[in-house]
Symmetry: C2
Subunit: 162 residues, 2 copies
């Protein structure tokens, strides 16, 4: 499957402790890489680690869906790209694709996330994004809103599909 | 959300390197725990590591969907439980729930997987399960087929839901 999205977010090299006895990236560690890519996206929208501490906000991942399309090997460098699928006052929906040079245009994996903003100043609770975060999301949305929706976006698990 | 399923598969203690600066289990590492629980399920159906090597078979995870419902803390012990949602000649669909004593009946997370059997004797390709594996899946299916489908089974990612 070829599914490339516009925004290059993150590069990582597959660590020895992430692979199984076949020297292939284990399924759970695809998610660790995607999670680190989400951190890179947070940096872009003014919600990096230091900004979260300073503003007593954080994010929670509510939901994620991953499709494993190709194997990734130990020591291979992977790139994660992103497309913003939507956002509201408190949440965003982000579609991610994982790539490796060896695979050319073939996508190694896709992942879709819903993430919610949390006010951490007292008991953690959901809250609207800070103004500069909402503005950053709005700018990315202007660039992404007319892109075609990726084929795996909104997908649900089912044996009967094929 | 209370969503407990019948088959206790796996227990793990949350490691220091799995938590974020809030001492909460990071999203990607929920998937690492669920992936280890899938290994325990493979042991149950005669596809443990040694049996896979001996029979030149393995499994690939095709797809996964996770809902993050409650936080899990460093050093906390978690339990993963499972319900078989369906299977065919080559694949099974397994629904998992994560629990911790502190949370009582509240479920910490749910995950649903589709896993496919692979013949590794030459170029890896999908193949029907070995007979004893198919028989083991059939026995579990007899126990699980009349259970209600978990609320999060077959769920798709969408901002519009709430």
């Amino acid at each position: 499957m070829v599914e490339a999205v516009p925004l290059s977010l993150y590069r990582a090299t597959v660590k020895r402790e992430w692979v199984d006895y076949n020297n292939h990236l284990r399924d759970g560690y695809y998610m660790v890489v995607f999670s680190e890519a989400i951190d890179a996206f947070m940096d872009l929208i003014f919600m990096g680690d230091a900004e979260r501490r300073a503003t007593m906000t954080t994010i929670y991942t509510l939901e994620a869906h991953i499709n494993f399309l190709r194997e990734i090997k130990e020591s291979e460098e992977v790139e994660v790209r992103a497309q913003l699928i939507g956002h509201d006052q408190k949440r965003f929906q982000l579609f991610l694709t994982m790539h490796a040079d060896r695979l050319g245009k073939e996508t190694a994996a896709t992942a879709e996330y819903i993430v919610i903003n949390i006010d951490n100043s007292g008991t953690p609770r959901s809250a609207p994004f800070r103004a500069e975060v909402a503005a950053a999301l709005g700018r990315i949305w202007q660039e992404h809103k007319d892109l075609p929706k990726p084929a795996n976006s909104g997908r649900s698990i089912a044996l009967a599909r094929k």
